[in-house]
């Protein structure tokens, strides 16, 4: 049996959780020696291939159709799904827009901004459509492990990974858990 495979995705988030993962510093060498890191934004993959992995990790909330698709596919292709950070766990700062209709947000962003002259609503079919609300990952798919924090501390990330690799579903101890 080979090393356990891990894939991570970066949805509606700021990449802070991935930064926190890199913040493991020398412990990162230790973690990477035990796992096989498949597709991840850290390796600068442009297209996500959805390999079958043991652990799938999501940073960010789900706010557009593409993110929803990625989350669903990752769920299908992994055994344990981990939500990293406040956006993935609670929705985070992206949920600020949830009290305003989607159309009003887009109009404000692309047409009514003070610095915009002759703005148009983007219509390129390549662009993913916004969902009505930015929501935490567990609105759409089952999540097995929650690591809240903005970002989660490297210790919390390391702890949760170590536990998963040891075959346990981790529950973060209170002192490792923090919001914001």
């Amino acid at each position: 049996m080979g090393k356990p495979k891990i894939a991570t995705v970066w949805l509606e988030g700021c990449s802070g959780c991935h930064m926190s993962f890199l913040d493991l510093d020398e412990a990162l060498v230790d973690v990477l020696s035990k796992v096989e890191l498949c597709d991840t934004p850290i390796t600068d993959f442009k297209d996500f291939n959805f390999p079958d992995v043991d652990v799938g990790i999501i940073e960010g909330s789900i706010a557009n159709e593409e993110e929803l698709k990625i989350a669903c596919k990752l769920r299908e292709h992994c055994k344990v799904l981990v939500a990293w950070g406040d956006c993935a766990v609670f929705g985070g700062i992206n949920t600020l827009r949830n009290t305003v209709p989607k159309e009003a947000i887009l109009r404000r962003g692309f047409i009514e901004t003070e610095s915009t002259v002759g703005g148009v609503m983007p219509v390129d079919p390549e662009l993913p459509l916004l969902l009505d609300k930015a929501v935490p990952v567990n609105y759409h798919v089952n999540v097995d492990v929650y690591v809240p924090g903005c970002p989660p501390s490297p210790e919390a990330i390391a702890y949760s990974l170590t536990e998963i690799l040891a075959g346990r579903i981790p529950v973060l101890p209170s002192e490792m858990m923090h919001y914001d």
Partner: protein, 680 residues
């Protein structure tokens, strides 16, 4: 404490304990060191049982019971924590988080949020229910308090505190179900409501839903675990309310009332808007270095030695030429007894000044005159008597302006004890609750009280006196309604067994003091309280007026009657001078030295030397209660601006420059001397 009450034996988490009957499971657990998390419960408030976070299992019943409202019962077996209980608590918490927006930027920084602490404690690492993402209104209309309904969990602590502690009955629940909001009066905004800005709602709020508008730096001042707390008291009005100061980085972050205060204080540990907020407000630019006026009229910074030397020299020279009459000392009665004592020694014994007075000297002289006229010492009643009274007659008193907690206490006693309150004169916040309110033309109080005295002393028997009273009433131009209210007040007063009189500036400052004289006579008519105490509370204008007067700082003679002063030392405690008469008197001086925490803006062009002193929160001191019987200790809470010396050290240094050696060398000696003068 009754000792013969049979204790109840119950089992909590397998531990057999004996507790008093009638207490709640929560109290029993806490008395025995067993922790049960709570949210809507607050030790200073009545139990409500609203949030169900404190649920426990009783006798294995399938239905969990809220421990804060379930009384103990003989043989009860309580389990405070198992998987089912924790799951139930966490689910409730998840619903609370899902209902409104609790993605708060401040709480993670400051840690000062009970909801967040509970979420950590109960290990809420995600929401299993969808969040509503509904937006609720915010109300930032008041200068003091703001409400953000998005952070509100409807625990009702603020509503209970507003009723039970401050007695204001402003906050309540508006609307029903998902539209339920904390409301002020009938859905008023904060500024349009009858809110008194005491801030007790903010103190008990477990989230950040009610916050104040003074602490903009709150979140960036570090985590609450790094704050220091200092327990002191507020000396600003003479009630000496205990206050807990949270300090970090030499900044006061918040001031809390000591809500769990013991029964010796009927106010239940509340603070008013002055005690909670005014301290956090800057009253102008701080004075941090001594300043001296140059030949061209501009003020320039000067060294301490030179400034003190110059001041002492000018004062000595004035005294040498024209004697003590040439020197005046004027102090604020907000200063501590220690500062005032050193000031008195410097001015009196050091410089032989004949004119020593306080800013509230005129108030003192009215009281003194009545005392001399009647040949009795005026021993006033304590404000703590208020809940015991059956009739309260307020004349020219507006405690909300001067002693706000007294106003709150009166309101509470109206609601709780059905005490009849009669308000005579200008009064803003109490008259809607008062049994009688008599509004008079300005300055009408003395005549009315004289009429009341005649009416009461002549009741039933003395027709001449009653005719005299009727004449006075006619003079006041009271209409039929006013006259009926007057007689109703007299009747209530006559029937009262334990009445209390409250006099304020409106009566005492009015006219020649005859109104106050009549009120004292009226109060004596109703008999004295134990300890030869009058049934009278006098609302004094400054926090330590009683202390200043006891130290003899207030002059018995009218200012200027002992000769015109040419040099003056003005010892301010944070106020700006705005009284035009006083400004006029300070204008014609040859020399004016001002010792003040702030730059005295209104004295620009008049002051020759400015010497900085600390605010009361920046030095130790004692103050004396409103009735003059108690002494309280105000601790140094923060450091003064760098370079500013303690008041007593400034005054001692000045004294030494004038060639006078004060009796005290250390602060302790001074404090003992002040205590002795206070009779303690």
């Amino acid at each position: 404490m009754e000792t013969n009450v049979e204790k109840v034996k119950i089992t909590i988490d397998g531990k057999e304990v004996l507790v008093d009957p009638g207490i709640s499971i929560l109290e029993a657990a806490r008395q025995n060191g067993i922790h049960i998390p709570t949210l809507c419960h607050h030790p200073a408030l009545s139990s409500w049982g609203g949030c169900r976070i404190c649920v426990v299992e009783v006798d294995g019943s399938p239905k969990l019971a809220a421990s804060c409202v379930t009384p103990v019962r003989v043989g009860m077996v309580v389990v405070t924590s198992n998987e089912r209980i924790i799951e139930s608590r966490r689910t409730i918490l998840e619903f609370l988080f899902a209902e409104r927006n609790h993605n708060c930027m401040i709480c993670a920084q400051s840690g000062d949020c009970e909801l967040q602490k509970l979420a950590y404690e109960l290990h809420m690492d995600h929401l299993s229910v969808p969040a509503s993402f509904h937006e609720f209104p915010t109300d930032v209309t008041s200068d003091y308090l703001a409400i953000d309904h998005n952070r509100c969990i409807l625990c009702g602590r603020c509503v209970r505190a507003c009723q039970e502690i401050s007695g204001a009955h402003v906050l309540n629940f508006n609307n029903r179900g998902p539209h339920n909001l904390i409301g002020l009066d009938l859905s008023e905004t904060r500024d349009a409501s009858t809110c008194l800005n005491c801030g007790v709602c903010m103190q008990v709020c477990p989230t950040g839903a009610i916050y104040d508008r003074y602490r903009t730096h709150y979140a960036v001042k570090g985590h609450d675990t790094a704050w220091q707390t200092t327990e002191s008291l507020c000396p600003q009005c003479g009630l000496m309310c205990p206050a807990i100061f949270s300090v970090h980085d030499n900044t006061i972050l918040k001031i809390d009332g000591k809500l769990e205060a013991d029964d010796s204080r009927p106010d239940r540990g509340q603070l008013c808007s002055k005690g909670r907020f005014e301290v956090l407000k800057t009253m102008g630019r701080r004075l941090t270095r001594p300043m001296v006026r140059n030949g061209d009229g501009t003020m320039a910074e000067e060294s301490w030695e030179k400034a003190l030397d110059l001041t002492a020299g000018k004062l000595r020279a004035a005294a040498r030429v024209k004697g003590g009459a040439a020197i005046a000392g004027l102090a604020s009665s907000l200063h501590s007894n220690e500062s005032l004592l050193s000031f008195r020694d410097l001015m009196g014994r050091g410089l032989g000044a004949d004119n020593i007075d306080t800013l509230d000297g005129a108030f003192f002289r009215t009281l003194l005159r009545v005392q001399q006229d009647m040949n009795i010492p005026l021993q006033e009643a304590s404000w703590k008597m208020i809940p015991k009274a059956d009739h309260i007659l307020m004349v020219g008193a507006d405690p909300y302006q001067t002693q706000p907690v007294i106003s709150s206490l009166i309101r509470k006693t109206i609601f709780e004890n059905r005490t009849k309150v009669s308000v005579i004169g200008q009064q803003a916040d109490l008259f809607p609750f008062a049994a009688h309110h008599l509004q008079l033309e300005e300055g009408g109080e003395p005549t009315l009280i004289k009429a009341m005295l005649d009416e009461v002393t002549g009741a039933e028997t003395d027709d001449a006196k009653r005719a005299q009273a009727a004449g006075l009433l006619r003079k006041l131009g009271l209409d039929e309604t006013g006259s009926a209210v007057f007689h109703e007040i007299v009747r209530t007063l006559t029937e009262a067994q334990n009445p209390l009189f409250i006099a304020g500036e409106g009566l005492i400052a009015a006219g020649d003091g005859s109104g106050f004289n009549s009120l004292v006579r009226l109060a004596r008519q109703k008999g004295l309280l134990p300890g030869s105490t009058l049934r009278l509370i006098i609302l004094k204008p400054f926090g330590n007026s009683s202390g200043a007067w006891k130290l003899g700082l207030a002059s018995e003679a009218e200012p200027g009657s002992k000769g015109q002063a040419t040099a003056c030392v003005l010892f301010l405690a944070g106020e700006q001078i705005s009284d035009p008469d006083l400004l006029e008197r300070l204008t014609g001086l040859d020399f004016l030295a001002v010792i003040s925490p702030y730059i005295p803006e209104s004295l620009a062009g008049r002051a020759d030397v400015l010497i900085p002193c600390p605010l009361w929160i920046e030095e130790d001191g004692t103050c004396t209660s409103l009735d003059g019987t108690e002494t309280g200790y105000t601790k140094k809470v923060i450091e003064p601006p760098s370079g500013v010396r303690d008041s007593w050290q400034i005054l001692s240094a000045l004294a030494e420059q004038t060639g006078f050696r004060p009796d005290f060398e250390t602060w302790n000696d001074l404090s003992n001397a002040a205590q002795k003068e206070m009779g303690g």
